[in-house]
Every structure is written in C-alpha cells, then in structure tokens.
C-alpha cells in the first residue's frame, strides 16, 4: 500500500460562504470544489491548464483550478460559476450568452463566463483583440467563438459601461 500523507484542515470562502474541510494538501482545487463542496459547475476538460473549463476566481484573479493545490487557497476567497448570478437574477454576461447563442453544449460555458466576467471587470469596454486575448485560455469546440464574442459585446452594451 503506498504511503499516505495526512489530510490537512483548510478554511476558505467560496461564493461568499466560509467552508472548512479536510483535504490532501496537493489535492486539486477543482476536485475539492466538485467533490467535497459539491459545486459541480466547474468542469474538468483537460487537467493540464489548457482548456479553461475549470476556471475559477481566486482572490479576484482568474485561475485554472485543475492546477491549484488546495493548500494554497487556505484563507482565500474563491468564486465559481455558482456565484456569478445573484439569486434568480442572471449576470449580464449570462443573459447575453443565452440571447446570442454563446452556449451550445455548455461544457465550456462556466469557464467561459468566468473569463468573460473577469475580462469585463478589468476592461469594461474591450476591443475585439482584447476580447479574443481575454478568452484565449478558454477553448470551445462547438461555437467557433463567434457568438461568444457577440455575447461579450452584448453584455457591455446591456449594462452601460461597467459590468
């Protein structure tokens, strides 16, 4: 039987709620979110940090949760797709994804929405190049990206300047 390290106690905030749990320190944040906290909106697409389906925000910065050891988020504030809408009220980006057809199979959508919202918070009126580069870390196989770009533009328009 291979040797096992001990699990450690981790406390962090996820979507505004404090969570304390035990986990192996090198366990991927992605797995802890999905299995321990049952937040299955964040997806695994590649496990290599290439596809962005696992995108979450850690202390306001977008990161690939498949590459983050959970020990490193002790004390951090994490936001996942489940924290983007406010109750029943969808975020402007989510509304735009629906109205523009930015989601097809939907598996990349949580990560893509996280990236898009993050982009608009950093750059409220992004140029086309800024949109493309802002989403470069999120792969979509269904849409060819066109309607995702439209959705980001629509979200900017919907809310005036700042999203």
């Amino acid at each position: 039987m291979p040797d096992r390290a001990n699990k450690v106690e981790i406390t962090c905030t996820v979507n505004g709620e404090t969570h304390s749990f035990k986990a192996y320190p090198m366990a991927r944040l992605l797995d802890v979110l999905r299995q321990e906290l049952r937040l299955t909106g964040t997806k695994e697409g590649c496990g290599e940090g290439e596809c962005g389906a696992c995108s979450v925000w850690i202390d306001g910065e977008i990161a690939n949760s498949c590459l983050v050891p959970v020990l490193q988020v002790a004390g951090s504030e994490i936001k996942t797709i489940e924290g983007i809408a406010t109750g029943e009220q969808l975020h402007a980006v989510q509304e735009a994804f629906i109205s523009c057809g930015g989601a097809q199979c939907g598996i990349c959508t949580p990560g893509m929405v996280m990236a898009a919202v993050n982009l608009l918070e950093r750059t409220p009126r992004p140029s086309e190049t800024e949109i493309r580069m802002g989403l470069a870390g999120n792969l979509c196989r269904c849409t060819g990206y066109m309607k995702i770009f439209e959705a980001v533009v629509r979200a900017c328009q919907a809310t005036g300047v700042k999203v």
Binding site: R28, E48, G52, P69, L71, L119, M133
Partner: protein, 302 residues
C-alpha cells in the same frame, strides 16, 4: 489525475526564513512550489517524481517590484500579469512584457512566476530569452546567506542549473542599461495563443547610425537550454547592418544552435525559422535603428 495524490506532501512555511531552514535541515527532500503552472501539469500526468513540496506562493519576501535609478528588481514570485502591468518594465524592458503576454492565457499568467519559469528549466520557456537579453542577475538565498549570479550561465545543461537544493531564487535584478536599444521578440508557437514555442527569439541592439555598437541575442527551443548566442553577439558587434551581415549572421547561428526533431516540430524548421527571425531582427534594426518591439500578434490586429 494520474498521480497518487495522498502520497504527496505540501507544506506552507510562514516565512522565507522558515522555508530556508527546512531546506537546510532536510536537503534534497523538499522542493519549492510557487504558482504550480508547470509542476501541477506533471502531477496530473503522473510524472511528478518528487513527493514533498514547500509552498512559497504566499511568501511576501519574494514578491514586489522595486525600482531604483540603476535597477528594476523583481521579486521571484512576480507573475506574468504583474510584469505586464508595470510601467517601467513596459517602457524599458518591453520584451519581457511581451513574453509575459504570450505565455499561456490569462489564468496561466496570473499564477505563473518568473522564478518558477527559470527554475523549471525548460528550454522552451518564453521569458528566459527576453531576460537573457537584459543581462539580469539572480539572487539565490539559503539559510546560510545569499549570493548574486549572472543569469547568463545559470542554466548549465538540460534541466540543470547552478541553483543548489537548499537555495531559492529571491530576486531578479535588471540593470537599466538598455534604454534606447532596438528591441525585438518573437515567439513562434503551434498557434497564436496558449502555445508552447517551437522557436523563440529575443534580440536587442544599440545602434549608431547603421552600425551595431552592442547587441544581445537569445533563443529558446533550439538547444538544451535557453541560449545566449555569444558567437553571433561577438560577430555582430561593431558591424554595419547590411545584406552581407545578414547572411553571415544566419550562418553563425546555424553553428551555434542545436535544434531537434520532436513531437511539436523539426530541427530543420527550427533552424530555418530561427535564421529568419534573426534576419527579421536585423532588418528591423536597419529600418528603424530605434526602439520597436515586434509584436507577433500585430497580425491579428491588422
């Protein structure tokens, strides 16, 4: 996830001092883990042979960017995002900012660190060629003290370096000596974004009219280490930029680099493209003589 996660230990020391003490006490047992953008990929693939890691990600002693009249000094944990956002780096060390912008996507840039990139030792890394052009010094600290080493020479072979097992990189110091130099960086990858480089070229030159007073050239993905092209540097110093100089420089480059065939590309392609990038750099010097970085992504904007 192909690794047996329970067998891996990760500890987060409270301070740099505590981290160094542990490294000193248990030599070769602990490896520093910063943002994880390299190590966690190996972990996922079942290829992370080391088992015990020290998380240095939150150590404030390793963060921050300090500007003095002579130097810009980057904390080891400076991320690609932080580098790109810094005004002095943008003005005087633009190749580094460009390399940072072309590394992975934004999520990678938020977690990837310059020191992590250096210590990972990949010859295909994007920032090291840009760094080499700026003649940085690297501060290595251990429980017993610190020392500064020139970055040129830091890498001694494929994935080997002068860093001792009990040492951590603390700072990267860039001398502010290249203002006004012509600058050029181009990464050729498998696609325009989120790509591992097939060839990466960084060059900088101080021009006087049409003559190269001084020059730096560094390449990635064409040798077991990120390579400073000392032969070409020597050959091009004090040269007039001319068509003849281009041909000679390309030939010298062919002698100096040792590209290989691998899953991503071929030796022939890497050689030819490296030569073309060198020529493009020299042409730019000839046309401008001044400060203008090539932006590979400019094509997307045009």
């Amino acid at each position: 996830m192909r690794s047996y996660v329970p067998a891996y230990e990760l500890r987060a020391p409270e301070s740099l001092e505590a981290a160094l003490e542990l490294l000193e006490r248990e030599p070769d047992v602990w490896k520093p883990l910063a943002g994880g953008t390299d190590l966690m990929v190996l972990f996922e693939a079942g290829k992370l042979t080391h088992r015990k890691f020290l998380s240095i990600w939150k150590l404030s002693e390793l963060k921050g960017i300090e500007v003095t009249p002579e130097h810009v000094t980057l904390g080891a944990l400076t991320t690609y995002t932080q580098a790109q956002a810094h005004a002095v780096l943008q003005r005087e060390f633009s190749l580094l900012c460009q390399a940072a912008r072309e590394t992975g996507g934004i999520a990678t840039q938020n977690r990837g660190t310059l020191a992590g990139n250096i210590v990972n030792g990949s010859p295909a890394a994007d920032s090291p060629p840009a760094l080499l052009v700026y003649d940085p010094q690297i501060e290595l600290v251990s429980a017993r003290g610190s020392r500064w080493v020139p970055y040129h020479g830091f890498h001694t072979g494929y994935k080997t370096m002068v860093l001792r097992p009990e040492e951590i990189i603390r700072r990267i110091r860039l001398p502010r000596t290249k203002q006004g130099w012509g600058q050029y960086y181009r990464k050729v990858g498998t696609r325009k974004a989120q790509a591992i480089s097939k060839v990466c070229f960084a060059g900088s030159a101080q021009m006087q009219h049409n003559t190269i007073r001084d020059i730096r050239i560094a390449l990635g993905s064409v040798a077991p280490i990120v390579l400073r092209c000392v032969r070409n540097i020597a050959a091009l110093r004090s040269q007039k930029v001319s068509a003849g100089a281009f041909a000679a420089a390309k030939e010298t480059l062919a002698q100096e680099i040792t590209p290989i065939d691998d899953m991503r590309s071929t030796a022939a392609y890497r050689l030819r493209v490296a030569q073309n990038l060198l020529e493009e750099f020299l042409l730019q010097l000839q046309n401008n003589g001044g400060d203008e970085s090539h932006r590979g992504l400019a094509a997307a904007e045009s």
